[in-house]
């Protein structure tokens, strides 16, 4: 399924989901998912809410563990490791090492409210990467400059707008220089007029090249602009994938066609996650 991307086939995938199934109790959320992502590739995940997009990202960020199957990151198992020739569950040390290649930006920012913007960005540099404070501050200011928040370094998150908060969250993830970045509906919690500034920052990062990006989004124009490949999920499986042109101009499956026609009417579903949480979906 994931073999139909022409431009990247020469490389080894940087992320490989192999036969991943994820269940919460009786409820199977992902069904035997196979997915390869190439280094530097920008992949957009689209699909109705509840289709498993967030779960795909959370498995890679090690926020959930797979029920079965394996995930490889940069040629190495994420959730498993070899010990005396046998495959066993990864320990914390192994997770820590592989996870350092991955960063994530969340829908609800998850900034640290008790720290200034600067400290939000430097905290992991200093205490995870063990970079000296002066150097960490220097790097943080550089990144904050890039996301247009150089002047807000001494503010607290609650003093910022949603769009500014999300840009700080992006800076905080970016400063760790992960090889893979996950963006999970990062504009869904924002007021419509603030969406643009966040998407512009992501577009700028994407245009710089090297970073592998997985973008879960309901912003179809954005997905079309940024992504090399669009993946459409529904009911815990990948229904269809291809280049933006292939998927948007010429959707093959009935499910994607009806999904897109709903969106083209201009109804991005902002409250999708809240509805799922309330159990009314």
């Amino acid at each position: 399924m994931s073999q139909n991307i022409q431009t990247f086939t020469s490389d080894e995938p940087i992320v490989r989901y192999k036969n991943i199934t994820k269940s919460f109790g009786e409820h199977t959320v992902l069904k035997e998912l196979d997915l390869d992502i190439l280094p530097g590739e920008k992949v957009a995940l689209i699909g109705p809410s509840g289709s498993g997009k967030t779960t795909i990202a959370r498995l890679l960020m090690t926020l959930e563990s797979p029920t079965s199957g394996t995930i490889e990151v940069d040629g190495e198992m994420l959730w498993h490791m070899h010990k005396r020739g046998r495959l066993i569950s990864a320990n914390e040390k192994h997770l820590h090492r592989v996870r350092s290649k991955i960063g994530m930006v969340f829908q609800h920012f998850n900034l640290f409210p008790h720290m200034t913007i600067l400290r939000n960005v430097t905290e992991a540099l200093i205490h995870v990467l063990k970079i000296p404070k002066a150097e960490a501050n220097h790097r943080a200011l550089e990144i904050l400059e890039r996301v247009g928040l150089r002047d807000h370094t001494n503010h607290y998150p609650s003093q910022l707008s949603g769009g500014q908060k999300q840009r700080v969250a992006i800076a905080r993830a970016l400063v760790m220089q992960p090889r893979i970045m996950l963006f999970d509906e990062v504009t869904s919690a924002l007021d419509p007029e603030l969406v643009g500034e966040v998407l512009d920052v992501i577009k700028a990062i994407a245009s710089e090249g090297d970073m592998t990006m997985i973008l879960i989004t309901h912003e179809m124009d954005f997905a079309r602009d940024v992504a090399d490949r669009i993946i459409f999920t529904d009911g815990g499986v990948i229904v269809e994938q291809g280049t933006p042109a292939e998927l948007f101009e010429n959707p093959k499956s009935a499910r994607l066609q009806s999904f897109l026609s709903r969106f083209m009417k201009g109804q991005p579903d902002r409250s999708a996650d809240d509805r799922v949480a309330a159990g009314t979906e």
Binding site: M61, T62, L63, E92, H96, R99, S100, I102, G103, M104, F106, H108, F109, N110, L111, F112, P113, H114, E123, A124, H127, V128, Y156, P157, S158, Q159, R172, A173, M176
Partner: protein
């Protein structure tokens, strides 16, 4: 019935024991704060062999009267373990231990109030467990509990008369001694009541002011 002259004459004796009374409450409170946190952490542990015994111990302490625990400290400890504590020290330990089980619940509610997203951001940034606790979770969970903690300090202060049962010379004990020497109980006990009121009430106002200030800071986002 009320004898002003007499009341005046015994007041200095009562004021004299205020430091002991306050010290037992404050030291007990500090001990309770120090013990409460590890109890709260242990009870949340995913390791059953840690969580279980601590939970059982804590529930046991909480559901038995302080007085019995004090008696165990002063009567059973010397006999069984050959440890003899001064009444004051036993009082501090008893109060501290007893209330640590309450304070552990306060810590727990503080910890539970930290949104899941904070833990997830900590994982995404690759903080280890210890760092996540020390730099992300505890700094957010302890400040909101401060007013409740303050109230417990006042509660513990009002509990100090229990220590008279193990002969700690605090306010109630002193009043009883004065009263039984002169058979004038009204003045002594009334004065003790007033002293408690004078010390407790402003403290609770202070706690309330603190609470208001924290709410305000929270709105400004610098709690």
């Amino acid at each position: 019935m009320w004898d002003w002259g007499y009341a005046n004459s015994i007041l200095p004796k009562l004021l004299e024991v205020i430091p002991t009374t306050l010290a037992s409450a404050i030291l007990g409170f500090i001990l309770a704060c120090l013990l409460g946190l590890p109890i709260a952490l242990a009870r949340r542990s995913s390791k059953k062999w840690i969580a279980w015994p601590v939970a059982a111990f804590s529930e046991f302490i909480r559901s038995t009267p302080l007085l019995i625990q004090l008696f165990v400290l002063v009567f059973v400890f010397p006999q069984s373990f050959n440890i003899t504590l001064s009444p004051f020290l036993a009082g501090v330990i008893g109060l501290g231990l007893h209330y640590s089980t309450y304070l552990s619940e306060v810590y727990r509610s503080g910890i539970d109030s930290v949104p899941r997203g904070q833990w997830e951001a900590s994982i995404a940034l690759n903080f280890n467990k210890l760092r996540t606790w020390l730099r992300i979770v505890l700094p957010q969970s302890i400040p909101p509990t401060i007013p409740v903690m303050g109230n417990y300090l006042i509660v513990m202060f009002k509990e100090t008369p229990t220590l008279s049962a193990i002969t700690v010379v605090e306010l109630l004990m002193t009043a009883k001694v004065i009263g039984s020497a002169s058979f004038k109980y009204v003045e002594a006990f009334t004065l003790v009541g007033i002293i408690f009121l004078v010390l407790s009430y402003p403290s609770s106002l202070l706690v309330r002011a603190l609470e208001r200030r924290m709410k305000r800071n929270e709105r400004r986002g610098i709690a």
